[in-house]
Protein backbone atom coordinates (compact mmCIF):
# COMPACT_ATOMS: atom_id res chain seq x y z
CA UNK A 1 0.00 0.00 0.00
CA UNK A 2 2.57 2.36 1.17
CA UNK A 3 4.46 3.65 -1.75
CA UNK A 4 1.51 4.07 -4.01
CA UNK A 5 -0.40 5.95 -1.37
CA UNK A 6 2.52 8.21 -0.77
CA UNK A 7 3.07 8.96 -4.39
CA UNK A 8 -0.55 9.88 -4.90
CA UNK A 9 -0.97 11.96 -1.79
CA UNK A 10 2.31 13.79 -1.88
CA UNK A 11 1.88 15.66 -5.16
CA UNK A 12 -1.68 16.40 -4.16
CA UNK A 13 -0.52 18.08 -1.04
CA UNK A 14 2.07 20.08 -2.84
CA UNK A 15 -0.37 21.27 -5.45
CA UNK A 16 -2.83 22.34 -2.79
CA UNK A 17 -0.05 24.16 -0.96
CA UNK A 18 0.91 26.02 -4.07
CA UNK A 19 -2.69 26.84 -4.65
CA UNK A 20 -2.98 28.48 -1.24
CA UNK A 21 0.06 30.60 -1.74
CA UNK A 22 -0.53 31.58 -5.32
CA UNK A 23 -4.26 32.31 -5.43
CA UNK A 24 -5.40 35.81 -5.98
CA UNK A 25 -8.90 35.16 -4.82
CA UNK A 26 -8.89 34.58 -1.09
CA UNK A 27 -11.86 32.27 -1.07
CA UNK A 28 -10.02 30.12 -3.53
CA UNK A 29 -7.00 30.19 -1.34
CA UNK A 30 -9.12 29.06 1.57
CA UNK A 31 -10.45 26.15 -0.45
CA UNK A 32 -6.98 25.14 -1.49
CA UNK A 33 -6.03 25.13 2.15
CA UNK A 34 -9.01 22.91 2.87
CA UNK A 35 -7.69 20.56 0.28
CA UNK A 36 -4.28 20.53 1.83
CA UNK A 37 -5.71 19.87 5.27
CA UNK A 38 -7.84 16.99 4.08
CA UNK A 39 -4.93 15.49 2.24
CA UNK A 40 -2.96 15.68 5.42
CA UNK A 41 -5.79 13.92 7.21
CA UNK A 42 -5.52 11.08 4.77
CA UNK A 43 -1.82 10.97 5.47
CA UNK A 44 -2.60 10.62 9.13
CA UNK A 45 -4.77 7.68 8.29
CA UNK A 46 -1.95 6.10 6.35
CA UNK A 47 0.27 6.67 9.33
CA UNK A 48 -2.01 4.53 11.42
CA UNK A 49 -3.70 7.29 13.39
CA UNK A 50 -7.37 7.53 12.60
CA UNK A 51 -7.91 9.64 15.66
CA UNK A 52 -5.76 12.36 14.32
CA UNK A 53 -7.38 12.13 10.93
CA UNK A 54 -10.74 12.68 12.49
CA UNK A 55 -9.51 15.54 14.63
CA UNK A 56 -7.81 17.11 11.64
CA UNK A 57 -10.94 17.13 9.60
CA UNK A 58 -13.27 18.17 12.37
CA UNK A 59 -11.23 20.83 14.03
CA UNK A 60 -8.84 22.03 11.49
CA UNK A 61 -10.78 21.88 8.32
CA UNK A 62 -14.22 22.24 9.80
CA UNK A 63 -13.32 24.73 12.47
CA UNK A 64 -10.47 26.88 11.30
CA UNK A 65 -11.51 27.18 7.75
CA UNK A 66 -15.02 28.05 8.72
CA UNK A 67 -13.70 30.84 10.85
CA UNK A 68 -11.51 32.11 8.05
CA UNK A 69 -14.37 32.14 5.63
CA UNK A 70 -16.49 33.96 8.11
CA UNK A 71 -13.79 36.57 8.51
CA UNK A 72 -13.59 37.00 4.78
CA UNK A 73 -17.31 37.42 4.55
CA UNK A 74 -17.44 39.98 7.31
CA UNK A 75 -14.71 42.10 5.93
CA UNK A 76 -16.00 41.75 2.44
CA UNK A 77 -12.61 41.53 0.92
CA UNK A 78 -12.09 38.97 -1.63
CA UNK A 79 -9.36 39.93 -3.92
CA UNK A 80 -5.80 40.60 -3.17
CA UNK A 81 -5.19 42.91 -6.11
CA UNK A 82 -1.48 42.81 -6.05
CA UNK A 83 -0.54 39.54 -4.62
CA UNK A 84 3.05 39.93 -3.86
CA UNK A 85 5.15 42.06 -1.78
CA UNK A 86 8.75 41.54 -2.74
CA UNK A 87 8.49 37.97 -3.92
CA UNK A 88 12.15 37.59 -4.82
CA UNK A 89 13.70 37.82 -1.38
CA UNK A 90 10.91 35.71 0.00
CA UNK A 91 11.46 33.08 -2.63
CA UNK A 92 15.15 33.01 -2.14
CA UNK A 93 14.87 32.75 1.58
CA UNK A 94 12.26 30.01 1.37
CA UNK A 95 14.51 28.13 -0.97
CA UNK A 96 17.47 28.47 1.31
CA UNK A 97 15.47 27.29 4.27
CA UNK A 98 14.30 24.32 2.29
CA UNK A 99 17.81 23.42 1.27
CA UNK A 100 19.03 23.73 4.82
CA UNK A 101 16.29 21.55 6.15
CA UNK A 102 16.68 19.04 3.40
CA UNK A 103 20.33 18.61 4.11
CA UNK A 104 19.39 17.77 7.69
CA UNK A 105 17.54 14.80 6.41
CA UNK A 106 20.64 13.70 4.61
CA UNK A 107 22.64 13.59 7.75
CA UNK A 108 20.06 11.88 9.78
CA UNK A 109 20.96 8.58 8.39
CA UNK A 110 17.49 7.32 8.54
CA UNK A 111 17.05 3.87 7.25
CA UNK A 112 14.28 1.38 7.09
CA UNK A 113 10.98 1.78 8.77
CA UNK A 114 9.76 0.20 11.91
CA UNK A 115 6.33 1.58 11.85
CA UNK A 116 4.33 1.32 14.96
CA UNK A 117 0.69 1.21 15.71
CA UNK A 118 -0.51 4.57 16.68
CA UNK A 119 -4.10 3.60 16.49
CA UNK A 120 -4.68 2.60 20.03
CA UNK A 121 -7.22 5.17 21.12
CA UNK A 122 -7.58 3.74 24.57
CA UNK A 123 -3.90 4.02 25.23
CA UNK A 124 -3.90 7.56 24.01
CA UNK A 125 -6.77 8.42 26.27
CA UNK A 126 -5.07 6.85 29.23
CA UNK A 127 -1.86 8.69 28.59
CA UNK A 128 -3.74 11.91 28.12
CA UNK A 129 -5.46 11.64 31.45
CA UNK A 130 -2.57 10.34 33.47
CA UNK A 131 0.84 11.41 32.36
CA UNK A 132 -0.21 14.40 30.37
CA UNK A 133 -3.02 15.56 32.53
CA UNK A 134 -1.38 18.82 33.42
CA UNK A 135 -0.75 19.96 29.86
CA UNK A 136 -4.23 18.84 29.08
CA UNK A 137 -5.74 21.04 31.70
CA UNK A 138 -3.52 23.89 30.74
CA UNK A 139 -4.65 23.48 27.21
CA UNK A 140 -8.23 23.80 28.29
CA UNK A 141 -7.32 27.00 30.04
CA UNK A 142 -5.67 28.22 26.89
CA UNK A 143 -8.78 27.53 24.89
CA UNK A 144 -10.86 29.30 27.44
CA UNK A 145 -8.59 32.27 27.25
CA UNK A 146 -8.69 32.21 23.50
CA UNK A 147 -12.46 32.22 23.50
CA UNK A 148 -12.76 35.13 25.81
CA UNK A 149 -9.94 36.94 24.15
CA UNK A 150 -11.39 36.62 20.74
CA UNK A 151 -14.77 37.72 21.99
CA UNK A 152 -13.39 40.69 23.84
CA UNK A 153 -11.22 41.89 21.03
CA UNK A 154 -13.60 41.85 18.17
CA UNK A 155 -16.78 42.81 19.93
CA UNK A 156 -18.64 45.74 18.45
CA UNK A 157 -18.95 48.67 20.76
CA UNK A 158 -22.35 49.27 22.22
CA UNK A 159 -23.87 52.29 20.47
CA UNK A 160 -25.65 53.40 23.61
Amino acid sequence: MTDVVFWILAPLLVICALGVVLSRNLYRAAYWLAGALVTTAVFYLALTSPLLAAVQILLYTGGVLTLVVFALVITASTDDKERWRRPMPAGVLALLVFVALASVIDRMGVAGSAQGGLADGTAIGVELFTRYIVPFELLSLLLLGAIFGALAIARREDPS
Partner: protein, 99 residues
Protein backbone atom coordinates in the same frame (compact mmCIF):
# COMPACT_ATOMS: atom_id res chain seq x y z
CA UNK B 1 6.63 5.62 2.51
CA UNK B 2 9.76 6.21 4.31
CA UNK B 3 10.53 8.73 6.98
CA UNK B 4 12.89 10.48 4.70
CA UNK B 5 10.33 11.05 2.07
CA UNK B 6 7.74 12.15 4.53
CA UNK B 7 10.08 14.67 6.04
CA UNK B 8 11.09 15.85 2.63
CA UNK B 9 7.50 16.41 1.77
CA UNK B 10 6.77 18.27 4.95
CA UNK B 11 9.76 20.52 4.39
CA UNK B 12 8.56 21.30 0.89
CA UNK B 13 5.20 22.37 2.18
CA UNK B 14 6.90 24.28 4.98
CA UNK B 15 8.96 26.26 2.53
CA UNK B 16 5.99 26.98 0.33
CA UNK B 17 4.15 28.25 3.35
CA UNK B 18 7.17 30.33 4.33
CA UNK B 19 7.17 31.94 0.95
CA UNK B 20 3.52 32.77 1.31
CA UNK B 21 4.02 34.24 4.78
CA UNK B 22 6.78 36.50 3.61
CA UNK B 23 5.37 37.54 0.27
CA UNK B 24 1.56 37.88 0.46
CA UNK B 25 0.03 41.29 1.12
CA UNK B 26 -3.36 40.36 2.47
CA UNK B 27 -3.57 39.50 6.14
CA UNK B 28 -5.80 36.49 5.60
CA UNK B 29 -3.50 35.21 2.91
CA UNK B 30 -0.69 35.44 5.42
CA UNK B 31 -2.71 33.52 7.97
CA UNK B 32 -3.58 30.83 5.47
CA UNK B 33 0.07 30.39 4.59
CA UNK B 34 0.87 30.21 8.25
CA UNK B 35 -1.69 27.44 8.63
CA UNK B 36 0.08 25.61 5.90
CA UNK B 37 3.32 25.79 7.82
CA UNK B 38 1.73 24.52 11.02
CA UNK B 39 0.17 21.70 9.16
CA UNK B 40 3.44 20.62 7.61
CA UNK B 41 5.06 20.55 11.02
CA UNK B 42 2.32 18.36 12.41
CA UNK B 43 2.86 15.98 9.58
CA UNK B 44 6.56 15.84 10.28
CA UNK B 45 6.04 15.11 13.94
CA UNK B 46 3.63 12.33 13.25
CA UNK B 47 5.95 10.90 10.66
CA UNK B 48 8.74 10.62 13.20
CA UNK B 49 6.37 9.19 15.79
CA UNK B 50 5.05 6.64 13.30
CA UNK B 51 8.55 5.64 12.36
CA UNK B 52 9.53 4.92 15.96
CA UNK B 53 6.20 3.84 17.32
CA UNK B 54 5.94 6.64 19.85
CA UNK B 55 2.44 7.24 21.01
CA UNK B 56 3.46 10.54 22.49
CA UNK B 57 3.72 11.84 18.99
CA UNK B 58 -0.01 11.60 18.59
CA UNK B 59 -0.58 13.51 21.76
CA UNK B 60 1.88 16.15 20.68
CA UNK B 61 0.13 16.65 17.38
CA UNK B 62 -3.17 16.77 19.17
CA UNK B 63 -1.95 19.53 21.37
CA UNK B 64 -0.46 21.28 18.41
CA UNK B 65 -3.74 21.31 16.60
CA UNK B 66 -5.57 22.62 19.63
CA UNK B 67 -3.13 25.42 20.13
CA UNK B 68 -3.24 26.32 16.48
CA UNK B 69 -6.98 26.53 16.63
CA UNK B 70 -6.79 28.90 19.54
CA UNK B 71 -4.23 31.00 17.79
CA UNK B 72 -6.30 31.29 14.67
CA UNK B 73 -9.33 32.32 16.63
CA UNK B 74 -7.54 35.14 18.34
CA UNK B 75 -5.69 36.11 15.21
CA UNK B 76 -8.88 36.40 13.23
CA UNK B 77 -10.58 38.48 15.86
CA UNK B 78 -7.59 40.80 15.84
CA UNK B 79 -7.86 41.00 12.10
CA UNK B 80 -11.53 41.92 12.34
CA UNK B 81 -10.80 44.66 14.81
CA UNK B 82 -7.91 46.00 12.80
CA UNK B 83 -9.94 46.04 9.66
CA UNK B 84 -12.73 47.83 11.40
CA UNK B 85 -10.51 50.50 12.88
CA UNK B 86 -7.88 50.99 10.26
CA UNK B 87 -9.94 50.05 7.26
CA UNK B 88 -7.20 48.13 5.56
CA UNK B 89 -6.38 44.51 4.99
CA UNK B 90 -2.88 45.08 3.76
CA UNK B 91 -0.24 43.93 6.15
CA UNK B 92 2.15 46.69 5.34
CA UNK B 93 -0.33 49.37 6.24
CA UNK B 94 -0.71 48.08 9.76
CA UNK B 95 2.56 49.55 10.89
CA UNK B 96 1.92 51.86 13.81
CA UNK B 97 4.60 50.27 15.96
CA UNK B 98 7.35 51.68 13.89
CA UNK B 99 10.50 53.28 15.28
Amino acid sequence: MTLERLLFLSFVVFSIGLFGVLARRHVIALLLSLELMFNSVNLAILAVAWHNGWLEGVILVLFGIAITVAEVAVGLSLFLLAERIRGTVIVDDLSELKG
